[in-house]
């Protein structure tokens, strides 16, 4: 069955510290991979995506993610966290198919940032 696992429900970091949010997926073939952020009362915003090519992808707000096929992982990283990064972060996958763009989301990781 297709699934996305985000093992960390809640992560707390100090402002300026580095960050890594974990994401593992289970899928028949390598899917498209995404990270979204959801601030309180806001809709989801796309941080970055991986379709093909370089396995290290850059996104908005200084985030990056690395696709590791051997580990079925797509971990999100940021070298220096800002207080405004406090939000819910979701990893998602989608099939490489022409007639669908159905996203499957993980359960999310809540990021808390201390000053």
């Amino acid at each position: 069955a297709q699934s996305v696992t985000q093992p960390d429900i809640h992560i707390t970091v100090s402002e300026g510290a580095s960050l890594e949010l974990r994401c593992n997926y289970s899928y028949g073939a390598t899917p498209y991979l995404f990270w979204y952020v959801q601030s309180p009362g806001q809709g989801l915003q796309l941080l970055l995506k991986y379709f093909s090519g370089d396995t290290l992808v850059q996104g908005i707000k200084g985030f990056e993610a690395e696709f590791k096929r051997s580990q079925s992982s797509f971990n999100l990283r940021k070298p220096s966290v800002h207080w405004s990064d406090a939000a819910e972060h979701f990893c998602a996958v989608g099939p490489r198919a022409r007639n669908t763009d159905k996203l499957i989301f993980g359960t999310g990781t809540r990021l808390q940032v201390f000053p």
Binding site: Q42, G43, L44, G94, T100, T107
Partner: protein, 114 residues
């Protein structure tokens, strides 16, 4: 460019009552999605429209949920009758046809069923 609009933002109803949510997508976006996000979970796709036709409604509980997009623009999602487990945030998203995985999300409607 205006984003995806949703109303109401919050709704509290009693179980067995009916409720409707409205979504107006970004102008020119032919594809529209409704997601259900239960507390502590990621969003789950309920239904996807291409213009006014249904592309995927495999996860829509059709005994109580219905959705329409009559003119291919705005859309309404209805629950009748509501159950306690329907308490969730209902997100609407839209995208341009032919541009997969470029979904723009609205702020959502938070439904509480008591």
């Amino acid at each position: 460019e205006a984003g995806v609009a949703q109303s109401p933002r919050y709704k509290i109803i009693e179980k067995r009552q009916s409720v409707a949510f409205w979504c107006n997508p970004i102008s020119g976006h032919a594809t529209l999605y409704w997601y259900q996000q239960i507390l502590g979970q990621g969003p789950k796709l309920l239904i996807q429209f291409q213009n006014n036709g249904v592309v995927d409604d495999s996860q829509l509980p059709k005994d109580r949920f219905s959705a329409e997009r009559l003119k291919g623009v705005d859309s309404t999602l209805k629950i009748q009758p509501a159950k306690l487990e329907d308490s969730a945030v209902y997100l609407c998203a839209s995208s341009l046809t032919g541009v997969p995985y470029e979904q723009y999300f609205g702020p959502g409607t938070r439904l509480t069923v008591t």
